[in-house]
Amino acid sequence: MGEVTVPSMVRLEEGVRWIPGANALLGPLNKLVNWGRAGSIWPVTFGLACCAIEMMDAGASTNDLDRFGILFRASPRQGDCLVVAGTVSKKMAPVLRRVYDQMPEPRYVLAMGSCACSGGVFDTYAVTQGVDQIMPVDVYVPGCPPRPEALMEGFIKLQEKILKEQFRWSQWR
């Protein structure tokens, strides 16, 4: 319906129009789905190292991720987003990938901290140099560790990304 342009419609934003008097909004389902997803990101509780402490801090009173609708879930089956908070050692990598595989689509990965982004200071035999070697990453949040504000910024970037997606839902339902 995107091509149809009726002059009496008021264009609210890209793809969403309002018919005055008819009490109705026209828009692709995409928008609604993306809005729902962006507004309710449930990350999996998975702290690996130092960054996990800042992640907990971001969820605590002062910064309160719950404001964005972000609620930590313990089970990967109910998670939407995997925050890789900390160093991914080689022993951990298969486990991490497994947690990622257990998550239902659409799933997002947020690499938090230098270690998850690139291995950080730990260029040793036991550390994976960046989590993007084993799973696709949506947002990188650098820092060692990133401040909670930086994590929030990362989540906002993720929301922006989700809002721009196209029909990410069609394949699974």
Partner: protein
């Protein structure tokens, strides 16, 4: 996706001898404080055998430190026990200073003591938060983080970082305290005791909390000692072992404080010990703030951040018997003494020991970290045996482990 035909469920049913039910808890589990894995053999919910598995955060610290200078390896210690990173920094610096024979000015010692005790407070707050959350009291978690945030702001005022400080230097500290820091810290330690009371009203008189903690995870003093448990867990069992008293470092011999001791050695005793320690930390900080001496913050013989390996080659007038005309090249002199040393400090978790071997160069030949959490996790097998799953969770919380330090 093709759905395979129905399979028989793999949930075991009691079958004579073979009644054990094995459960792998972690590494991704909300109560394992990071990436601890615990393999359990269960009979119903009773734990028959508990095998902790670590190493999921092994980063090769000791190997890495051998490839770095002493000054560079300091930043690694931040990432050991990232909850009380300052205490690790201080412990590391104390050890290296003793190894290399570097003196520290008095003011730096006091500042370090303050910083280490703040670190203890922030670590104990996080411990209380997660321990309470594990037992199910979620509000305590957020209340603790509220105060921890003030502490982190103070750390930021002190050194600009929230979690990984690298603030102490070998031979002193990086920068002096500001007057604002001193004022704010004074204000914080004034209000903090009332906040501790707040947590205690939430949990300490709560019958459910008492039922969950009293008599759970008992360890006698001798057992705890044999298992290598240190810190508040050992003191909860009644053994008076606190390195701040036993082998004082920094300004701990200048201040007056008590070492709280428990007697029962259960989860509740450890909890009480740590709560009391928070009061004692406040006492130490207050004394240090009052006595803070003026003076330099870094010693004269402290090494440069870029630690030279050897003394620069220099020319010296030769003093041979053929006259003073000849010039001699002096090189290849070790700047540092060689030998080995074990220095332990009392970090929030327990005894953090550094065993160094120096070969005279600017890099440690070998650095071994004796981490308290490693020992505590190994003790989990003994502590949790015979309890229920819920007790295991309470025990993990009360042993206060941090995997970064355990796995190194």
């Amino acid at each position: 996706m093709s759905v395979p035909s129905r399979k028989i469920l793999e949930v075991p049913v009691a079958d004579g001898e073979n009644e054990r039910y094995s459960l792998r808890m972690g590494p991704q589990h909300p109560a394992t404080h990071g990436v601890l894995r615990v393999d359990l053999d269960l009979d119903g919910e009773t734990i028959m055998r508990c095998t902790p598995q670590v190493g999921y955060l092994h980063r090769g610290f000791e190997k890495l430190a051998e490839n770095r200078t002493y000054a560079q390896a300091l930043i690694l210690t931040d990432r050991l026990d990232y909850i009380g990173a300052m205490a690790n920094n201080v412990g590391y610096c104390v050890a290296v200073e003793r190894l290399l024979g570097i003196s520290v000015p008095m003011r730096a010692k006091y500042i370090r003591t303050i910083a280490a005790e703040m670190s203890r407070l922030s670590s104990h707050l996080l411990w209380l938060a997660t321990h309470a959350l594990d037992v199910g009291a979620m509000t305590v978690f957020l209340y603790c983080f509220r105060e921890r945030e003030i502490l982190l702001d103070l750390f930021e005022e002190l050194c600009g970082a929230r979690l990984t400080y690298s603030y102490p230097r070998i031979g002193g500290v990086r920068q002096d305290v500001t007057s604002r820091f001193v004022d704010e810290l004074g204000r914080f330690i004034d209000i903090f005791p009332s906040r501790i009371e707040e947590y205690e009203t939430l949990i300490d008189t709560n019958r459910i909390w008492l039922k969950r903690t009293v008599g759970v995870g008992k360890l006698s003093g001798a057992e705890a000692l044999a298992l290598g448990i240190t810190g508040a867990c050992l003191r909860g069992s009644g053994v008076d072992y606190d390195l701040r008293k036993h082998q004082p470092y920094d300004a701990y011999d200048q201040v007056d404080f008590e070492v709280p001791l428990g007697s029962d050695g259960d989860v509740y005793a450890r909890y009480r010990c740590r709560m009391e320690e928070m009061h004692q930390s406040i006492r130490i900080i207050r004394q240090c703030l009052d006595q803070l001496p003026p003076g330099p913050i870094i010693g004269p013989d402290a090494p440069d951040l870029i630690m030279a390996n050897r003394a620069p080659a220099r020319m010296a007038a030769g003093s041979n018997r053929y006259g003073g005309g000849l010039i001699q090249l002096i090189r290849d002199q070790d700047l540092f003494p060689s030998g080995d040393i074990y220095v332990a400090t009392e970090v929030p978790k327990g005894e953090l020991g550094f065993y160094f071997i120096s070969e005279g160069s600017n890099r440690p030949y070998r650095m071994h970290i004796r981490s308290p959490s490693f020992m505590h996790i190994s003790a989990l097998a003994v502590v949790a045996r015979g309890g229920l799953i819920a007790d295991l969770i309470a025990n993990i919380g009360s042993l206060d482990v941090v995997l970064g330090e355990s796995d190194r």
